[in-house]
Subunit: 153 residues, 2 copies
Amino acid sequence: MKPVRMSLLCAAAIALALPAFAQSPAKAQEMAIKYRQAAFTLMGAHFGALAAMAKGKVPFDAKVATDNANLAVQLSRLPFSHFIPGSDKGHTAALPKIWTEKDKFEAKAKTMQDAMVKVDEAAKAGNLEAFKSAVGETGKACKSCHDDYRKES
Amino acid sequence: MKPVRMSLLCAAAIALALPAFAQSPAKAQEMAIKYRQAAFTLMGAHFGALAAMAKGKVPFDAKVATDNANLAVQLSRLPFSHFIPGSDKGHTAALPKIWTEKDKFEAKAKTMQDAMVKVDEAAKAGNLEAFKSAVGETGKACKSCHDDYRKES
């Protein structure tokens, strides 16, 4: 990953970061965990709708796919600034090495975010083959990060 | 509320509805509860950032406010199609009368959604007074719905 792209990713995250005013560190950590889990839940749900279309479980509909993909792209940008120091403890499946391999972790996040953009572009273009390919790529990026950085449930 | 607005609200919700394929009713209900709670969590977090600016706890920044408000508007449209039949049971604070007063409940949802749009418009315009007013109106709409339809925690 080129440093300039990383800076842009961080800038986007900071713009949407939540204020930490009047919160104890423990409360801020708890809120960060809840926030990122909620973002992953919504992203997973809308990506699930896209994956169902890519797999032919529901018919491909470019409008519905675009609505879901557009939202999934935005949701994909939300969780990663919330892996704040100390939020490896508590009700979380995040592995501690997220915090010791921050660059690698964020590079994997970026791979997923970029793949999700391709899903959105293919949906907008109504290109089913490109859509299937991009959904596959995104799914692999999710799995790759989960394999390395998420506790098995 | 005029019927035509209600239809538009429902249409928007349907376009983003998740496929219910290959799911038992119990699983679909559990997923619906998780989904709507995640949407409320994110919406609450971003609205919280807006409320902090409206209250002067953090400085007003039109760009940050617009980013948060734009996202909050989109998030405000997500939860309500997930109050599906049977999802009044389980890990939820939703009161059963949501399902027996569906029109009233959805009217309150619409009031909140409309107020959130005003927050977004005021943020975009950089109009702090209009922003404060719209944030107040949105907060009241949230509380009004919670008072009637959410179990006290």
